[in-house]
């Protein structure tokens, strides 16, 4: 239970890498806003009443009960005495921003961030549901779909998260309905082959790197040799001069020394293989869409075989049949629970997945999967509470855990000093049906104010 999954370590490393480069010794930004809220739910710690959040420069500077946090002078205070402050919600997997035709043909290296429709109506509606960050599913065809995009909510539309805005690489193992298990079994074999090809590609890239280093040395040596020995003709003529001189005067004219080295040919750039190399090294998370038992088992086998440290199952509707294996494997899970009863292959999907995963210590996030359900993300979490999930775990599953799974936990996901100022204030505890979103801040700016 207290084992720290390796994905968390690497995710933190990735999070640090994704953070904008801040010189370590820059002075702390000046405070520019204070939120005085009736109840604060930091998620990274216990909730407390009569709390104060100090924001400045787009970051959270301090969080705590009123007495313990000094209020800076001359800074405007927004008082919401009956409000409940939460971190901005993070939707781990949704199709908000996917353009009408999808993203076309998928591949492991397809970065969908440039293609996200940031002005779509669904993007504008996200702040009203309390969501400040979401992960756009790469809705493309094929098994290897692409690399999802991280999007930040804005007052009028979305914005990409940082320069690269890269989420996770998606691998889809879910077969069509009605497919015979034997046919599916055939398709689930040999999932590791792209990784092998990526490995040989990585080796080829490394060899090329070494070859380039050698070329540098050889070129310098040749240049030296040309400068030292030989006449002016040889100095300027280079290779042709050599050949001409060789033709002219035989051995005496040709300068002794190495031939001019040729630049080594690079392997053709292959974004798919590059992405898989990054998955293998843990730099990019691998998210595997699997619903049925055999799909989940194939996913876990792939993760074990290729020793992928940063892996996550998406969907996992039949996870209740393989809970122990999932717990042992160290992968995380992104659930997309439904408010209406759902069936898979004619059997109802269990409602207790979230509670069971939580009981076994498997890290999991609750995501909408679907733009329309994104508006009701807290209700999806509340529905899991009715089937045994503790309330704090449900709130965590839509804030800090998805941030961790996406490698951005250093930036957002909880109300802690140093993180970005992403705050949602609701009129009642988040999972209550009548909780209205009062105010949403992202990077310290108000992007939504409810009535």
């Amino acid at each position: 239970m207290s084992r720290l999954p390796c994905w968390l370590i690497s995710a933190a490393a990735v999070g640090a890498a994704a953070a904008p480069a801040q010189p370590p010794s820059s002075p702390a930004p000046a405070p520019d806003l204070v939120l005085a809220v009736g109840t604060v739910h930091p998620v990274s710690g216990p909730s407390f009443a009569d709390g104060v959040i100090v924001l400045g420069g787009g970051r959270i500077l301090a969080v705590g009960p009123r007495g313990s946090v000094p209020l800076p002078d001359g800074v405007p205070v927004v008082a919401l005495p009956n409000g409940h402050a939460y971190p901005g919600l993070v939707d781990a997997c949704t199709d908000v921003g996917v353009p009408a035709g999808g993203f076309g043909e998928g591949s492991a290296g397809l970065e969908v961030a440039p293609g996200v429709d940031l002005d779509a109506h669904s993007c504008r509606a996200m702040p009203a549901g309390g969501i400040t960050t979401w992960h756009v599913l790469p809705a493309a065809s094929g098994r290897w779909r692409g690399i999802g995009a991280l999007v930040r909510a804005g007052a009028d539309g979305g914005e990409l998260f940082g320069e690269s805005a890269r989420g996770a690489v998606f691998l889809r193992l879910v077969g069509p309905a009605g497919q015979h298990p034997i046919v599916r079994q055939k398709e689930l074999t040999d999932l590791g082959r792209p990784f092998e090809e990526a490995e040989s590609y990585a080796k080829a890239v490394r060899r090329h790197g070494e070859a380039v280093a050698k070329y540098e040395k050889d070129f310098q040596a040749w240049l030296e040799a040309v400068r030292k020995g030989g006449n002016g003709k040889a100095r300027t003529g280079g290779g042709e001069g050599d050949a001409a001189a060789a033709q002219e005067g035989g051995q005496a004219a040709a300068p002794a020394g190495p031939k001019r080295p040729t630049y080594p040919k690079a392997p053709p750039p292959d974004p798919a293989k590059t992405a898989l190399v990054q998955v293998a090294s843990g730099e990019l998370p691998l998210w595997i869409e699997a619903q049925r038992r055999d799909e989940i088992e194939a996913a876990l086998a792939l993760v074990a075989e290729r020793r992928i440290v940063n892996a996550c199952l998406v969907g996992a509707q039949r996870a209740d049949t393989v809970l122990d294996e999932i717990a042992r494997s160290g992968v995380a899970v992104v659930l997309t629970p439904s408010l209406v009863p759902v069936e898979l292959d004619g059997e109802p999907v269990a409602d207790t997945l979230a509670a069971e995963l939580q009981r076994r210590g498997v890290p999991f996030a609750i995501a909408s999967g679907d733009g329309r359900r994104a508006r009701a993300l807290p209700l999806l979490a509340a529905a899991c509470v009715a089937h045994g999930l503790p309330e704090e775990a449900a709130v965590r599953a839509i804030t800090l855990t998805p941030a961790q799974l996406l490698g951005i936990a250093a930036e957002t996901g909880s109300l802690e000093a140093g993180k970005r100022a992403d705050v949602v204030v609701t009129s009642a505890p988040l999972l209550r049906s009548d909780a209205r979103v009062l105010r949403v801040l992202r990077d310290g700016r108000t992007i939504y104010q409810g009535r």
Partner: protein, 386 residues
């Protein structure tokens, strides 16, 4: 002791004629939409509510078992105003569109799929209705979610008519909504006429005109709702105008522009199941109707649909008290069973549900369900002898 409890819970209470007398105390007891007791007490005896709140005597006698439910919330058994459960074929009579005399209770299977699920979810009574496959589809009845015979409370609770597209059939009259509305008008005119024959279908229509039987019209889009309201509008020569008829709407998802007219002409609205994919206006409609004091109830095929509809309606502005009323007192009144169900006033049946939170929140779980004094679902030990 445990096996005795389980046996007790499993055996049919009919063979155990007297349910236990219980004195229940809990943090929150919702007796009625306008009466909520905090740290209140409830006395159940003989399957009925014997006393509630201040009228519960201090000394209750040794035969009464005291149950302290702690922080739980006790509400009256939930009532769903309209459901077809999962009965596909038996509730859809499509050979002819005019079948006002058919009764849905005759196709009700108390041991069927879905009934046990209803009970486990806290629904203790519901209106079983014919499918909207017909223009004048038939009579809905009110039943208790009880697998024994004798669970039918009323054979005839309301007459259901449907002008939605699924009630039109291109293979029989009517094929268009013009025909459907003409059928409804002609039916009522003929029934009201002096020369009407005394047949069962005309009896039903006359009961509607006299106000003895509510008339529920299934209409979804804005124009369907407008035409349904025209039936009761004296300014549009509605066949029901001027009579005592009580018009209810079922569905009405597209009616956000007609809220004032609904408030003026309809006696209530039954909301079809809500889900996040609907337009925001449809999700905000219950709130708009409640603001105009229109009585609401829900249609649901399962207790989960009921709770999700209530949660989404509250999320879009419906007050909590109105949502709870729409799940208890108001549907009971509409079904005509409010003498026995819908609230926990003295003399009503002892049908109640224990939640670990507010039933309007999706996070609240059903802890126990009690039907006429007998614990029937949830934790059997909770309400049994302690």
């Amino acid at each position: 002791m445990l096996s005795l409890l389980c046996a007790f819970a499993a055996c049919a209470p009919q063979s155990d004629p007297q349910p236990p007398a219980l004195l229940i105390s809990a943090k929150t007891i919702v007796v009625a939409p306008d009466l909520v007791l905090t740290d209140g007490r409830l006395l159940l005896r003989g399957g009925k509510v014997a006393a509630v709140g201040a009228s519960v005597p201090q000394e209750v006698g040794p035969d009464v078992h005291r149950v302290d439910l702690g922080d739980a919330t006790v509400v009256p058994g939930l009532v769903v105003a309209h459901t077809c459960l999962d009965a596909e074929r038996d509730l859809a009579e499509t050979v002819t569109a005019y079948t006002p005399e058919l009764r849905a209770v005759e196709a009700y299977d108390p041991y069927g799929k879905g009934v046990a699920e209803m009970l486990a979810g806290g629904v203790t009574a519901f209106g079983i209705a014919p499918r909207s496959a017909n223009t004048l589809a038939g009579l809905a009845g009110a039943v208790k979610t009880d697998p024994r015979a004798g669970s039918v409370l009323r054979n005839e609770s309301y007459l259901l008519a449907a002008i939605v597209p699924e009630a039109l059939d291109q293979q029989r009259f009517p094929t268009s909504r013009m025909g459907a509305l003409d059928l409804v008008r002609t039916a009522f005119r003929t029934a009201a006429g002096p020369l009407a024959a005394q047949t069962p279908d005309r009896e039903v229509l006359r009961d509607v005109l006299s106000g003895a039987l509510p008339f529920v019209v299934h209409a979804r889009t804005h124009d369907e709702v407008a035409r349904a309201l025209d039936l009761a509008d004296p300014a549009r020569d509605g066949v029901l105008a001027g009579s005592g008829a009580r018009l209810f709407l079922l569905g009405a998802g597209g009616a956000h522009r007609a809220v004032d007219r609904i408030a003026a002409l309809a006696a209530g609205v039954v909301i079809e199941p809500l889900h996040p994919g609907l337009a925001p206006e449809a999700l905000a409609l219950p709130a708009a109707l409640a603001a105009r004091k229109v009585r609401l109830a829900f249609s649901a095929g399962s207790p989960r649909e009921l709770r999700v509809s209530a949660a989404l309606a509250v999320r879009h502005g419906l007050p909590r008290a109105a949502a709870l009323a729409a799940m208890t007192a108001w549907p009971a009144a509409m079904l005509g069973i409010d003498d026995r169900c819908g609230t926990l006033h003295q003399g009503k049946d002892a049908d109640l549900v224990v939640f670990d939170g507010d039933p309007v929140d999706l996070g609240a779980r059903v802890i126990a369900v009690c039907l006429q004094g007998h614990p029937v679902a949830g934790d059997p030990g909770l309400l049994a002898r302690d």
